[in-house]
Amino acid sequence: MSVAYDEPEVGELLAPVPSENYLNCSHGFWSWAATVDHKRISIMYLVSVLSAFLLGGILALMIRMELWTPGRTIMDHDTYNHTFTLHGAVMTFLFIIPSIPAALGNFLLPVMIGAKDVAFPRMNLGSYYLWLGGALFLLAAIVLGGLDTGWTFYTPYSTTTNSSVITASMGVFILGFSSIFTGLNFIVTMHTMRPPWMTWFKLPLFLWAIYATSIIQVLATPVLGITLMLLIAERALGIGIFDPKLGGDPVLFQHFFWFYSHPAVYIMILPAMGVISELIAVFSRKPIFGYRFIAYSSLAIALLGFLVWGHHMFTSGQSRISAIVFSALTFTVSIPSAIKVFNWLATMYRGSILLVTPMCYALSFIFLFTIGGLTGLFLGALAVDVHLHDTYFVVAHFHYVMMGGTLVAFLGGLFYWWPKMTGRMYSETWGRIGCLGVFVAFNLTFFPQFIMGSRGMPRRYYNYPPQFQFYHQMSTVGSFLLGLSLCVVAGVLIHSLLRGRKAPANPWGAATLEWQTSSPPPLYNFDTDPVEVDPYDLESQVFDPLLGGYRLREFPARNHPDHDLASEPARV
């Protein structure tokens, strides 16, 4: 096709918000339940993962409540074991893994590359229903006898306990396929659906992160699938592969499990890093510093993530030499992670930083992720890990990475793209208050756990000696404040849906393509083909008081001095 615009007036592209968009173009239950539109699927994912987060959060508060005193506070020890297991399983498999890729990525990936949809829209819908099916199985496990193995399903306990391991494993197996299909869909979309001008190094860094995540999803998740199948076979038939009585090896389960679940940690954090790369650049009003380093570091993390699973097993009886190798490899992961952090800081250096809500989350992320990442080095060091293994130090470490990292980035991304997804602005003041609350309460909840852990408080214990009570109570108070802050966050977003001011196409002055279409976008994402623009060329955007938002200063595809006229057709 030819160039889409015929000498358009500047501003015309963005001027009127079309009355029809993906939210109101069709109505009724089936227009959502059977939709293949990636934006509607992402909204369904968003609602679903947030419900899962609510469930996991309530379970977390029950755990913290129980730990207010040593011994029994509100539940007996069996119920406690079930509660922390389900908290872990729900948060990991139902919330964090799908959160950014499936909810935000699904919405943004096609729009950011100017495509109409992902490569396989029906598979996309299918992956959502797989998520739903997996969630039903996990919930069924709660009803049918609960689950008390910890989210890691370690053998031999998981093959001998009488809680419903098979149902839960089936649930996680199905969720795994949901994750695989999302990843597969994204990889193909990024390879085949980009406009010709958008080379790999013109992709927003969020997409690089999503791409790296998808690679891990496609390569690692099947191994979890087969591991859970073997676990189910072990329980149902007694195949003996993990059972020492029959000649099997329970540690093999740990190897299999962590071969997936360590890369899965990067499934959780990489998209968060992608979100932060966008936020930092836009709200420092500067092009991102070290684009290629950030892009390649995503791939490096994805790659190195496959080589470090043994660091979960330093005390499980693996050989000394493999422990040393795994420890060394673990330290190498810190290099690409540090590259990202330093590049974000360098981006902010001398930028004109706007402390809007998404940026507040981005700054919280950098702070919390740095603590989470650095404490990971303690755990990767062999001698220190023997002391810290299975203590609250580990709990604090991964909550700093998973919650302080992924959840905070997810919220930041949600606030950043909220106007695009819903077409509504939110209260900036309350948004910031919510963020501050989350940040302070989060630290109050989890920082004491570092201290407890380093003093020997083991994780997953129902009871504890009295000297830990002060820290436990501090943590519990923090957790309830965290719950309250998250309620404020939810309130801000719900208020925005009901009363929010209409969002302009580009409220932030960002240059990535999703801001060139209206908020919310039309069914096929763009009424006119998006204009070629570098994703971090913030100079290309100019504030237009008439629109209440930003618009393109000019059309760089035509006017840029370096533009090669031979490649004139913006899209083919």
Binding site: P18, P121, G247
Partner: protein, 265 residues
Amino acid sequence: MTHTPVHPAPAAQPDQHGHAEEHHHSPFLAHHFESSEQQFDSGKLGMWLFLVTEIMFFSGLFCAYAVYRSSHPEIFIYAHKFLDTNLGAINTVVLLVSSLTMALAVRAAQMSQRKALIINLILTLICAGGFLGIKYVEYSHKWHAGLLWAGQFHPDFSHLEGAHQEHGEPASAESSHGHTESSHDTTDPSAPRNAGIFFSIYFCLTGLHGIHILAGMGAIIWILVRSIRGDFSADYYGPVDFVGLYWHLVDLVWIYLFPLLYLIH
């Protein structure tokens, strides 16, 4: 699912929707693709990625195989002789032939030869059914002989006697001479400990492979129905190609399973 067409925005894109109609001459071109080539490339890349996940899925079991074979080689040397090499070899040939007919089916689709496509798909299905039939014979034999996974491993050697001689595998028969003497007992004193773990791995690997054969047959039937309907031609043969790729992978997995399980020395 209903897609209301996009309403052109009030201004600025007179020729925006021209391209959609222009490319829609193929009834199988999905709305979000610009061209049939893009759709085909996407499908093909997607299929290859799916095959990668399949390989990773099997690799867990291959890994378990490698771990136990290296730590307990005696179990594998002892236990493999209860597998019937002849039936395994026949099944290998059957699957290889099915891969050939599948490849011919893809070629027929590419050349718009509807009849050849249908015949080759049916031949592939027959081979797949034959494979499963032979597999059923092997499984039921092991079931009766009590040669099951570790938890249910109660071999009945008196029952096995007949099968043992059919084997016709001199090398292993010789090395297992000691066992055949005592094979009238219901237990085998010279059997290594935990021999059942071999059958655990055997049933997991071949069982998972069998499930993939079944899934493949389902996909081939779907393709067959569509070819009878006349969907495929030189312009549009993607699904045949993709199912073909899957079928070759299933075949390839068996090519590894056969020597790893049946041909151990």
